[in-house]
Symmetry: C2
Subunit: 207 residues, 2 copies
């Protein structure tokens, strides 16, 4: 199972600082949506230039103009770009076309999708490299939120998948047991007092 | 009915050029999602500084972290920020909170939402200033696409609403007759040989 750090900060400088601390322990460096919107795709270029050996994930959460948005992100240096599961099939297909042109990959993010298992299978059939079973920051903040629902859905869908939604040191084992290909960790790394130590411990927890 | 130009170009320079040509004929200047992702929120700031008397709409299509994304867009100079109708209620509510803090507004974009009438009412109840009945660029490109479905839904929802989905000189009359508060025109202005003339004609078509 790969380890992906989701860097949800608002400046390229802060993202570079965190990436510099944790890169050696992670496989995929994700630039969060607010960061891309705040700084633009130059943030993606900066991270890729600083970490050319890492997989760089631009969390665009594309909802329309799939081919265009994916194309400009790949040109900026992204290796993976996210498209929303709620997007039209043609948007996902357009983004996949751009990915094929660049020999890169599209991740379909199921945030907000009610029937995640069905949509995961559809998105995989449309050409997504893997599917992200994802509960957003706003959803995680609600009472009663539980990661298990995502893990069960991921397990059931039988597609390559990642899990994002408050994964931390106490839950990463369950993520791996559910068969995830990628564990996405955000706040538990970038919000830690010692991000490098947090990433190192998470890496060590993957068997 | 207000006229909104959606500027779907990829550089701040190109956006400023089009805005400069058409501003006198429009009420709202929208910076498209690919532009914001490409250039960052500095594009919003540049347009607002060049056109302080216009309503500047940042088409963030926010899906998560509603309060955060809206807050940074308002701070950058936006007067209106879009949140996806497919987002969690808490995401819309968070964005509305940021709008109230800045005395600005949230537009909920119904792109990709199946039951647009129901979601429009819910989004309005959550505090959206108006609701955008929207067919995306990818959806418009599909065979059989027809603006009438959006207009009927907007009329039925009985909320303040805008319409976006290939509005042009031959359809803007129908948009107004459906009771829209805002007509959103993209390609028919920014893609015209003479954007200023196109905007002037669209303005003149509003009674």
């Amino acid at each position: 199972m790969k380890l992906q750090v989701a860097i949800d900060v608002l400046t390229t400088e802060a993202a570079l600082e965190i990436a510099g601390k944790v890169a050696e322990y992670v496989d995929i460096i994700e630039l969060g949506t607010p960061l891309v919107k705040s700084e633009g795709l130059s943030a993606v270029t900066a991270i890729k230039e600083a970490h050319p050996d890492k997989i760089v994930f631009a969390d665009l959460k594309t909802m329309d103009a799939g081919e265009l948005e994916a194309d400009i992100a790949f040109k900026a240096g992204a290796d993976l770009v996210s498209v929303l599961g709620g997007a039209d099939d043609s948007t996902i297909a357009g983004a996949v076309k751009a990915a094929k042109d660049h020999n890169k990959g599209i991740v379909v993010d199921l945030i907000g999708v009610a029937d995640k298992v069905t949509r995961a299978k559809e998105a995989r059939a449309l050409g997504a490299k893997f599917i992200e079973f994802h509960a957003g920051l706003d959803e995680q903040a609600k009472p009663g939120y539980n990661l298990d629902v995502l893990l069960s859905a991921g397990e059931e869908a039988r597609v390559p998948f990642s899990v994002a939604g408050g994964v931390n040191l106490s839950t990463i084992g369950a993520v791996q047991r559910a068969g995830a290909d990628v564990a996405v960790v955000g706040g538990s790394i970038y919000g830690a007092d010692d991000p490098a130590l947090a990433a190192k411990q998470l890496r060590a927890a993957i068997i």
